[in-house]
Amino acid sequence: MNTDNIIEIHNLSFEINDNKILKNISLSVKTGEFVGLIGPNGAGKTTLLKCINGINKTDGEIKVKDRSIQELSDKNLATEVSLMHQNTAISFPFPAIEIVLMGRYPYLKRLQRESKEDYSIAKKNMEYTDTSKLENCPITEMSGGERQRVLFAKTLTQETEVILLDEPTASLDITYQEQIFKYSKERSSQGITIIAAIHDLKIAARYCTRLVLMNEGEIVADGSPEEVLTSENLSRVYGINALVYRNRITDLLDIYIHKHNSQKKSEKIHVLGGGGSASGVLRQLYEQGYNISAGVFSHGDSDIGSAEVFGIEHLVEKPFSEISDQRNNENIAFIKNSDMVILCNMPFGNQNLRNLEAARYAKKLVIIEDDSPETRDFTEGKAVEIYNQLKKSAVAVINSAQLHEVL
């Protein structure tokens, strides 16, 4: 057996009234990992956490530090594993410090009083979660964020090597949502093992070192966030069309979810864009299921990112160069092949002027004009001249909000 693994779960099944909630789960977690359990509602995330914590009694084997949790007494298990529940409703006005001190319960004998050390551990964790000011405030009078931070301090006060978190931020404002994950990440870098059921996939991808995707009581994917959060996995498990990509602005994994459109349209549309002008257009066309191509973009253009995410065939020119003959011919070929061409609200310079010239070959040209072409012309009038000619032959000149009317 691998001694690096702090948690070993083998063939774990759990059922309520013959209803199988967990089916043959096997999972090993290494010390210091930050594992995110993701999956749709009812996938069994919470149930799995409660099994590891011993709340749900199971026949399968769960080992913490090589010892089966069934052999451990309730208090001994509570010194190894703590669980922060999803919605702890406390209707009695305990002051925060009393709540946090409850984390010391497994360490105290029946008639033993909390020692100075117990208090100092509790206060240290309240300081860490920025709740020291709330020490004497009744928990019933706190905001959701304050209460979760107090409960997190209580969980930390239990001083366990394994911390389980069940949707710790489900009902919180964005201000507090990430805070608990930041604290958790810090702890995991100090060698504490964290397993968290997480609803928000972006947060899961950002903070966890490893993701476990569950569906209908089974583990369907397990690995790094990049490995688990694939468009394919998400589409299969959540039944949605999801695109996973690295956000160029934040450099974090991001997820784009859209309505499922089963029927593909046969109509071909080519999009002339650049400088970020095509992204919204490409997204709308993609959602409608058109057969799309795009170009010619200059290297590094953010429109390229959009085209990649949506899997759109597109033309790219070398950095800081004018559109070459080869790219121009390809572009014209796309245009001739398309039923419609959309000219986006893009800036014109000498580098991309050939995009404008190529638009002449369109069978049906739609021009998107949000800003007047004069303000976008950096060719001293050449572009506006061509643009105005194109306008005469265009079937429609619209602003981008009207795009759906043309489609």
Partner: protein
């Protein structure tokens, strides 16, 4: 001013008064410590309860008679006839009241805590109706005249039988779900109540009256034998409840939360239920069915000292004793030469308070306190 406004205004006044009262009491507690203060209050109330009656004995004479008879003040003489009235008639009665009050209030506190329900009360589990059935049988069979112990013993047996059935009905695979427990309690209470009524229907008028007096909670005629009978069970079971204070605090967070810090809720509840049964059945068997003590005393104490059982439980236990001794005193003097059942007084004071709590919780849209 509309009726609704009037009510709102009155609620507001009540709130203000309560808050003011609580804050000044809190200050007092802070300075002197509430438990010593309450013990002194209890002792004063007990002596007063012994002194006041059809024959009035001055407070300090009463104190000296009690002290003399428990061997603390030898060589004192008193007016003839006072000593037996004080020490053989009134004092044991007051002691029974104090013990019953302690048992009921401590049990109520524990029940509210372990079920996380501020409306829980020892009567809920069929304990009172079980004891009632035992009592009516004693009266019907004429055993009360044979020995004064039959009544308490039958009441005790009935109470235990009731809670045993309720518990077994709710027990499933090592767990006792709270809702099942409470619903079984209500069902068994109703059933035992019906049996009691059958026996009553078949009884003579004087027997019905005797039962009525028992069931409204009477403390008259309680003697040293009664004190001996319940002293140890009540003191020991209540003392053991104190040992579980921290567990009760953790249980307030919910069963799963408790398990997460290593507390086995099921086992703890079972132990606490046994302790409650012993304490409540002991109280009921010597004092009859006294309602509301277990409900309102913990509530009042929670307003004053907060929800922490380490302080709430002892203060409720003492508070229950004070409350019942005072109610018993009122029941004896309010319509001299008659005596009302002490249960009538506790209910007359308790029901309006209960309604007040109910209205308050409705206004706040949730649980009281």
């Amino acid at each position: 001013m509309s009726a609704i406004e009037t009510i709102n205004l009155r609620n507001w006044f009540l709130e203000v008064k309560v808050t003011k009262a609580t804050s000044s009491i809190k200050l007092m507690i802070h300075r002197f410590g509430i438990i010593p203060a309450m013990i002194v209050t209890l002792l004063v109330v007990m002596v007063a309860g012994t002194a006041i009656g059809a024959v009035y004995v001055p407070f300090f004479d009463t104190l000296r008679i009690i002290l003399k008879n428990i061997g603390l003040l030898p060589n004192s003489t008193f007016i003839e006839g006072q000593e037996p009235i004080i020490f053989l008639v009134r004092f044991p009665r007051v002691l029974v009241a104090a013990l019953a009050g302690t048992a009921l209030a401590a049990s109520g506190t524990v029940m509210q805590g372990m079920f996380r329900n501020p409306m829980a009360d020892p009567g809920l589990l069929g304990i009172s109706s079980g004891a009632g059935l035992g009592a009516v049988l004693v009266i019907k069979l004429g055993l009360a005249a044979v020995s004064i112990f039959f009544m308490p013993l039958f009441a005790f047996a009935g109470a235990f039988l009731a809670i045993f059935i309720v518990y077994m009905l709710s027990y499933r695979k090592g767990k006792v779900p709270v809702l099942t427990l409470i619903l079984s309690g209500i069902a068994i209470s109703t059933f035992l109540g019906a049996l009691t009524n059958i026996v009553l229907t078949l009884s003579y008028d004087y027997q019905v009256k005797e039962f009525l007096f028992w069931s409204t909670g009477g403390l008259d005629g309680r003697r040293w034998e009664h004190v001996q009978l319940v002293f140890l069970p009540i003191i020991i079971s209540v003392a053991l409840m104190f040992v579980f204070s921290r567990d009760l605090n953790v249980l307030l967070m919910g069963e799963e939360e408790a398990k997460s810090v290593g507390l086995n809720a099921g086992r703890t509840r079972t132990i606490l239920l046994i302790l409650i049964s012993i304490a409540t059945a002991s109280a009921v068997c010597v004092s009859g069915a006294i309602s509301f003590v277990g409900l309102i005393v913990p509530h009042i104490m929670r307003l004053i000292v907060g929800p922490n059982h380490k302080i709430l439980l002892p203060t409720s236990a003492i508070g229950g004793a004070i409350f019942l001794v005072v109610c018993d005193l009122i029941s004896r003097v309010v319509v001299i030469p008659f005596e009302l059942g002490v249960g009538i007084i506790t209910a007359l004071l308790g029901a309006p308070y209960f309604l007040y709590l109910l209205l308050r919780s409705k206004k706040e849209g949730g649980m009281v306190l």
